[in-house]
């Protein structure tokens, strides 16, 4: 019984990291129609930013989290202003440009911080497990879990209950018409991209004490996030949350029986089979053919 409960909790924590990574990816795709292949590298930047601030400046972990969000967000904003902007309407080229940007970021880190693995220390007050409902739950995983819930809530409010959100949804539905109504699309796009990048950076910061930090750490996370986005169906916050939950639990479960790698392979296989029958994702309504 406690075994099962522990398994579910492990799955939940995998799911919340997955959700943090996917959320930014899904928002950028949903609003701008851009798949950001540099997303994993923004995540990596977030992890390195924490490492740098902790080891060189001696900052505490929690203040780091807040700063990382804004630092990586600013980098994202810059990337959008200088490069992505010129590629709207050319989705395949955008994917390429973001891939190139990802390589540049990775190599820049490799050349400056070195290729060796780096480690971020978990703050002492989060190391010990908490006893909740007769279970030992890692305090750190609980932190990740709560940060995720807060961020999803913030994102929800941002999209559905602010005037920025109204403009954002207008642009999502029809960019041309939104422009005619005086909405500044360019500004919406750069803020969205920055927000998505910031989320990725935050995700990187949060995973940094759990795993080693390396220049190519982003790849694996971003691939899982692709699976979430593909199976959840874009343009739906609920779809992203639900499919991150399902994929997190499934990969936790599969990994319990086999190992991480085979779990991932099986998940990939399931997602490919799924899109054959529901190409719009599990949670989207089918509209028109073609």
């Amino acid at each position: 019984m406690t075994d099962l409960a522990n398994q579910i909790i492990t799955g939940l924590s995998i799911a919340s990291i997955l959700l943090l990574v996917s959320l930014g990816l899904a928002i950028i795709y949903g609003v701008m129609g851009v798949i950001n292949l540099a997303h994993g590298d923004f995540l990596m930047l977030g992890a390195y930013a924490v490492w740098l601030m902790e080891s060189a400046l001696g900052l505490g972990f929690l203040p780091c989290l807040v700063m990382v969000f804004f630092i990586v967000g600013a980098i994202g904003w810059l990337v959008e202003r200088t490069l992505i902007r010129h590629l709207y309407g050319r989705p395949l080229d955008t994917i390429l440009a973001t891939w190139g940007i990802g390589i540049i970021l990775q190599q820049a880190i490799r050349l400056s911080a070195g290729a060796q693995l780096r480690y971020v220390k978990m703050p002492d007050y989060l190391v010990n497990p908490l006893h909740l409902l007769g279970l030992d739950i890692s305090a750190y995983r609980l932190l990740i879990f709560s940060v995720t819930i807060v961020l999803v809530a913030v994102t929800y409010i941002l999209i559905f209950h602010t005037s920025f959100g109204i403009r954002l949804r207008a642009v999502m539905q029809n960019a041309e018409i939104a422009r005619c109504f005086g909405i500044n699309n360019a500004r919406i796009y750069s803020l969205t991209f920055a927000y998505g990048a910031g989320l990725a950076g935050l995700a990187g910061a949060l995973v940094s004490p759990l795993k080693s930090v390396s220049p190519d750490m982003g790849t694996n996370y971003v691939v899982d996030a692709f699976l979430v986005v593909v199976s959840g169906g874009v343009q739906s916050l609920f779809g992203t949350v639900a499919s991150a939950g399902i994929i997190g639990e499934l990969s936790g479960g599969f990994a319990y029986f086999w190992n991480d790698t085979l779990a991932r392979a099986l998940l990939f296989f399931l997602v490919v089979v799924l899109i054959r029958f529901r190409p719009q994702g599990i949670f989207a309504m089918p509209l028109r053919r073609g």
């Binding site: 309504m285 509209l287 028109r288 053919r289 073609g290």
Partner: protein, 249 residues
């Protein structure tokens, strides 16, 4: 004996009923005009025939076959060609290549491997281009054509496809008076060889080419008859109220 028959066709877009039990019957060799106020469901009617929109009820019979759940390419192979309201041609290909793609005699991948893209049927395709006045642009990219020329290219592509039934969605939209006349000429030439279903707003054009007119309103067939009959029909007048009357629509 009718070539195309729609019986009580229903189409829904996330709950909105764009077609509500739409009936239509077109005889072989006929040129039928389909009119109706904006949003009546004319484009949707053509969409559902060529497989672009999914049927939620009712039947579509073409040449004795129920095609309501066929995939688009199977419908096309049975002999239904479509011109879209927003002209859609392959902008990166030349006029010739556009026509060659449309000239679909064998659809298979391996069958087409043996056919040369440059040489096969070149003369026939050039004649077609001549028919729509695109001979000078034969080897140019379709992306640089004017709006009217693009419309003609798309019509020529349907002819190349040699479809038995042509579905034309607003073939004169955005054309000058002279271009519209030319298009009318073209339609008359095609009449008889192909069965045609033409959606139009331009009553002048319809009077020029059409025999029987079907009027749609709110996803249903409202009236059907000659131009004179339609123009004096009180139901039709009511439907067009507020949209500037049937002439100006």
């Amino acid at each position: 004996m009718s070539l195309l028959e729609l019986k009580g066709v229903e189409v829904q877009f996330s709950g909105f009923r764009a077609l509500r039990g739409f009936d239509l019957s077109v005889a072989a060799g006929e040129l039928r005009c389909l009119i109706g106020p904006n949003g009546a469901g004319k484009t949707t009617a053509l969409d559902v025939i060529c497989g672009k929109a999914q049927v939620n009820g009712g039947d579509i019979i073409f040449a004795g076959q129920n095609i309501s759940h066929f995939e688009e390419h199977r419908i096309a192979r049975l002999g239904i060609g479509r011109k879209f309201q927003v002209p859609s041609v392959f902008r990166e290909l030349t006029v010739k290549e556009n026509l060659h793609v449309a000239f679909c005699r064998r659809a298979g991948v391996f069958a087409n491997l043996g056919i040369s893209a440059a040489k096969a049927n070149a003369d026939e395709l050039e004649k077609l281009a001549e028919l729509v006045g695109l001979k000078e642009s034969f080897r140019r990219e379709a992306g640089i054509l004017s709006h009217g020329q693009t419309q003609w290219l798309e019509i020529a592509m349907l002819v190349a496809q040699d479809a038995q039934l042509l579905l034309l969605d607003e073939p004169t939209a955005g054309m000058t008076a002279a271009e519209t006349r030319k298009t009318a000429e073209l339609c008359k030439q095609l009449k008889g060889r192909h069965t045609m279903l033409v959606v139009e707003h331009d009553m002048g054009f319809i009077k020029e080419i059409g025999d029987v007119i079907s009027v749609m309103h709110q996803g249903r067939l409202l009236a059907q008859g000659t131009v004179a009959e339609i123009e004096s029909d009180p139901e039709v007048r009511k439907a067009y109220l507020g949209s500037g009357g049937i002439r100006g629509a």
